[in-house]
């Protein structure tokens, strides 16, 4: 990597930035899920790692969250954008050199940010935990150069049109920067009180809603038509999806604070808008599944489609939960319980991760021009992820329902802790499976880079997946 930092732009092979981002994202995925598994162990057995004072739960929880969001998910997005955007514009990435520097500074910044969180230097705001100097770094050193690369690649495209995926990439990067700068106003402007609490959740909601969900969806808009060879089912449904994301997903921030004394009208507005998130969800799922027409065999045969379509199918329960759990009618029961934790993992580990894993699998094969080293290990990774996630989701949902019931029947809290104990163990097991699956993936990817069979020019990796 280092030799490319100071090379001339023309000497850097196309796809270098995407490959570096891809490998980094997998490494961060291993670290992030490892931390998750470690934290989960402490929730089941609090004295298990007693003596490791530097790894206290209260310090490590946010490190897990930010390692998976900024390390795995965001870097997998960066990797995907750096190869999908140019591919869709029949052009090169605007600047590979910028991409390589971006990747380096991204990793350095992330290490610094996580180290600070780890040592307890935090703003004390969920999801915007980073202190404001780090926020500035994230915005202007990590995100702006990345966005610039994406935008300029789209501007310099050699097609008249911009495909749906690239609308999302360009729009979401813009919205992410806006959300980052405005969502951190509690820190820039020292907002206090309910304004601070509300803006904290405005940030948290919108960074999930305007970056993670739509970009993951945009990736599947590329992967599914590309691998199946079918045209995207409908350009016009793509419009419905894109505009409803911008209009409806950016508004329900207040539904995270339904039990706080925010103005009632704001909660009413947020909960209606929250249900309307089903509009982009329905449009999206329908568009992707109808694109699969006639090629469903690939769901079984092809590893990328297997990941992608599993992610899309997981988006259905995700959005059903998301739409309805935030209404007053349901929120009072499950607010602040493990149910929400399960939901968050359904979004990030279920829907989004499966979509990105597919794109990283595909991108690495295409860019390295090498076939996967082992399809069996890839399948193994898939099932470890899916089973591990299912265990996690089921156990946390059940424990959330227990907690909700205990809340309304005013059960002493320690009884809830006792009742949740078995589910905490299952949660730990599920998380550990995901962690081990990812180690396998990292190994498989390194071996692919080193010893994978070369893909002949003009062929797709998917076409020759089963030829020896």
């Amino acid at each position: 990597m280092l030799k490319y930092l100071f090379s001339k732009e023309d000497d850097i092979p196309q796809g270098t930035a995407a490959i570096f981002f891809g490998i980094s994202s997998i490494a961060w995925f291993v670290i992030g899920t490892g931390l998750g598994s470690f934290n989960a162990a402490k929730l089941a057995f609090p004295d298990l790692f007693h003596g490791l004072y530097s790894l206290q739960f209260g310090h490590m929880r946010q490190v897990h969250v930010h390692a998976v969001i900024f390390g795995w998910i965001a870097m997998a997005f960066a990797a995907s954008m750096m190869y999908i955007t140019p591919a869709l514009g029949n052009t090169k990435l605007w600047s590979e050199k910028l991409g390589v520097w971006n990747c380096l500074l991204y990793n350095v910044g992330l290490c610094l940010a996580l180290a600070l969180l780890w040592s307890g230097v935090t703003s004390g705001r969920e999801y915007s935990d980073h202190i404001w100097p780090i926020d500035l770094y994230i915005a202007f050193v990590m995100v702006v150069p990345w966005s610039l690369n994406v935008w300029m690649t789209i501007v310099n495209r050699r097609t008249q049109g911009i495909y749906t995926t690239n609308w999302f990439f360009a729009g979401c990067m813009f919205m992410t920067i806006i959300v980052f700068l405005i969502g951190n106003t509690p820190e820039w402007l020292h907002l206090t009180g309910l304004n601070e609490a509300y803006m904290t959740w405005w940030f948290a909601h919108n960074i999930l809603g305007l970056l993670i969900t739509p970009v993951a969806a945009a990736i599947t808009y590329y992967i599914v038509p590309k691998i199946t060879g079918n045209p995207l089912y409908s350009h016009r449904v793509g419009h419905l999806h894109f505009w409803s994301i911008v209009v409806f997903y950016s508004t329900p921030a207040a539904h995270h604070l339904m039990s706080s004394p925010l103005p009632e009208w704001l909660k009413s507005f947020a909960s209606v808008e929250g249900v309307l998130i089903l509009v982009p969800a329905v449009a999206y799922v329908c568009n992707i599944l109808l694109t699969m027409q006639g090629r469903w065999a690939l769901f079984v045969e092809n590893i990328e489609i297997k990941f992608t379509i599993t992610g899309v199918l997981l988006a259905i329960p995700l959005n059903m939960q998301g739409g309805f759990q935030q209404t007053r009618a349901i929120n009072w029961y499950i607010h602040g319980t493990g149910w929400i934790v399960a939901h968050a993992h359904l979004a990030l580990l279920g829907f989004s991760t499966f979509a990105e894993a597919a794109s990283v699998y595909y991108g690495m094969q295409v860019l390295l021009r090498r076939k996967l080293w082992s399809a069996s290990l890839a399948n193994f990774h898939f099932w470890m992820l899916l089973i591990g996630f299912s265990l996690y989701w089921t156990s946390m949902t059940i424990s959330g329902l227990i907690q909700g019931a205990a809340k309304i029947y005013e059960v002493p809290y320690v009884d809830v802790v006792i009742a949740e104990h078995p589910y905490m163990i299952v949660r730990w097991l599920g998380g550990t499976m995901v962690f081990f699956g990812n180690i396998i993936w990292l190994y498989n990817m390194i071996m692919t880079a080193r010893a994978g069979d070369p893909v002949p020019v003009g062929r797709q990796p998917a076409e020759i997946a089963y030829t020896r």
Binding site: I84, A87, L88, G89, N90, T159, Q160, G161, Y163, T164, Y222, P225, K226, P231, L232, Y233, S234, H235, R236, V237, G238, H239, L240, W243, S244, V247, F248, T251, P261, L262, P263, E264, W265, L266, K267, S268, F269, A270, S271, V272, E273, G274, V275, L276, L278, V279, V282, A283, C286, L290, G323, F324, T327, R328, A329, I330, N331, W332, Y333
Partner: protein, 217 residues
């Protein structure tokens, strides 16, 4: 924008624009990907309409909330009337039987009057023992001249509700809202969205036109 007013939903574009759009559509390959021009399937349109109806219906603020003190005021006044008190203090029958008889009397009397609380009373039934407990608090609040709708019954307590409808002048009304500024904004917001998307989508070539993807590849 060329808008054919006698056929507004089928074409919001001129023939020239449509021709140009079709040409662009068919003549470019976006990284080896093409797009079709299918409409939303009818069932999905139904699903989306259902979603909006559900969104408005399920987010009614009245769901999942505590009973207000106002719905029990009539119960309490009737309980304190001599007629009901006589039944309640009847030593010849058991406490439970007296309770039931008295409650039947109260409910019978209430059935004779129209009340805006009928629905909420059915949602939050109460028995006479609980009424005895909250009765004095409700009477006291009534004497204080406050609006009982701003108070909730929580177990044995009658407490100020936790709703904050901030009025334009800055005062706060603690009533359970059922229709507020947030709903109105949502409503217009949704309609604005629908109009914008309909205009956008209807300006595309009609969905009966299928692009020929063999041209670009």
């Amino acid at each position: 924008m060329g808008w054919t007013f006698n056929n507004p939903l089928f074409s919001l574009t001129t023939d020239d624009q449509n021709k140009e759009a079709k040409h662009t559509w068919e003549h470019e390959s976006l990284g080896g990907i093409a797009e079709n021009n299918n409409p939303l399937p009818r069932p999905v349109i139904g699903l989306l309409l259902l979603t909006f109806a559900t969104a408005i219906a399920i987010t009614f603020p009245l769901y999942g909330q505590r009973p207000t003190a106002a719905i029990y005021l009539d119960y309490v006044s009737l309980m304190n009337s001599t007629m009901v008190q006589e039944v309640m203090n009847d030593r010849t029958i058991t406490h439970d039987a007296a309770n039931q008889k008295a409650m039947a009397l109260i409910e019978d009397s209430l059935a004779h009057f129209d009340s805006k609380y009928t629905f909420q009373r059915a949602q939050h039934p109460i028995d006479l023992d609980q009424l005895r407990v909250i009765g004095p608090a409700i009477i006291e609040l009534q004497r204080a001249g406050v609006d009982l709708e701003e108070y909730s019954v929580i177990g044995p307590n009658v407490v100020k509700s936790n709703f904050f409808n901030i009025q334009p002048d800055g005062t706060v009304i603690a009533k359970q809202p059922w229709w507020d500024k947030g709903y109105q904004i949502s409503f217009w917001y949704f309609i604005g969205f629908c109009l914008a998307v309909i205009i956008t989508v209807k300006r595309l070539p009609h969905f009966s036109w299928r692009p020929d993807h063999t041209i670009a590849h």
